[in-house]
Symmetry: C2
Subunit: 127 residues, 2 copies
DNA sequence: GATTCCCTTTACGTAAACGTAAACTAAGGG
DNA sequence: CCCTTAGTTTACGTTTACGTAAAGGGAATC
């Protein structure tokens, strides 16, 4: 059976962040680990949420945005208005990702050009 | 002949930021507009740089990173060591973009799933 | 039983990226 | 000549996302 719970430092190591950071995410309402006495005990679900936060950070998402993403995970037990708001939020996030995809394509092209110019400059330097 | 220079408020409108923000980028060394008396006069090149900054922001780049990207634009007049450092920086940025590309793909899938669950929950609510 | 870890809370500090307000200048219109 | 409309500098304020002590609890190990 694979490990089913995690300590704070295990997760910190895995995601290359500090325990302080993980506790901060909890303060901000993005995580809700169980407790065994005083100590936090993280479930697989908590780990999934943390993974989402870290991935969001790489894409420039604020913690508030990542929090919204986490809340998209369990749409049950919501009334119709909330569900509609969720759908709208999902569409908004999708648009943002599409924009980022386009931005990345442009940047990749520009970096490729920069690389060529750079290599040319190096050749010119040699002579 | 298309417009060849721009005022600060023109650029602010175009990129949906404030003049304060543009001046701040100048303070940080990311822009170097000409002056006509006291007023800043932005060239097409300045505009390209600003566009790069704004795109970088959408991808979560810090201003320091965007500054580095701008400096990749003109690799001439650099010695060999600097050029090698530039090439390394370009490769690093490319890796980062590749990671972001993968992150976006995962997020898109997850959002699609969330959307399905959400729509299902709405159907269940109706009944 | 003292040391060593790993965990905890509380709280002040900090860097980045601007926002906001004050006080001023310079150009153009009525 | 006054007013309005950009633009300018200077400077302090604010939010986000943590960093960094300080002070301590609890279990294991020497």
């Amino acid at each position: 059976m694979p490990e089913t719970t995690f300590t704070i430092s295990e997760l910190a190591r895995e995601f290359d962040i500090t325990p302080r950071t993980i506790r901060f995410y909890e303060d901000e309402g993005l995580l809700n680990p169980a407790r065994k006495g005083m100590q936090r005990v993280y479930s697989k679900k908590d780990r999934v949420h943390l993974k989402l936060i870290v991935r969001g950070k790489r894409l420039g998402f604020s913690l508030a945005e990542s929090k919204a993403l986490i809340e998209m995970y369990d749409p049950s037990s919501q009334n119709t208005d909330q569900l509609q708001a969720l759908l709208d939020a999902i569409d908004l996030s999708s648009e943002r990702l599409a924009q980022q995809l386009a931005d990345i394509q442009i940047m990749k092209d520009e970096l490729a050009n920069a690389k060529k110019r750079c290599q040319k400059a190096m050749r010119d330097n040699k002579k």
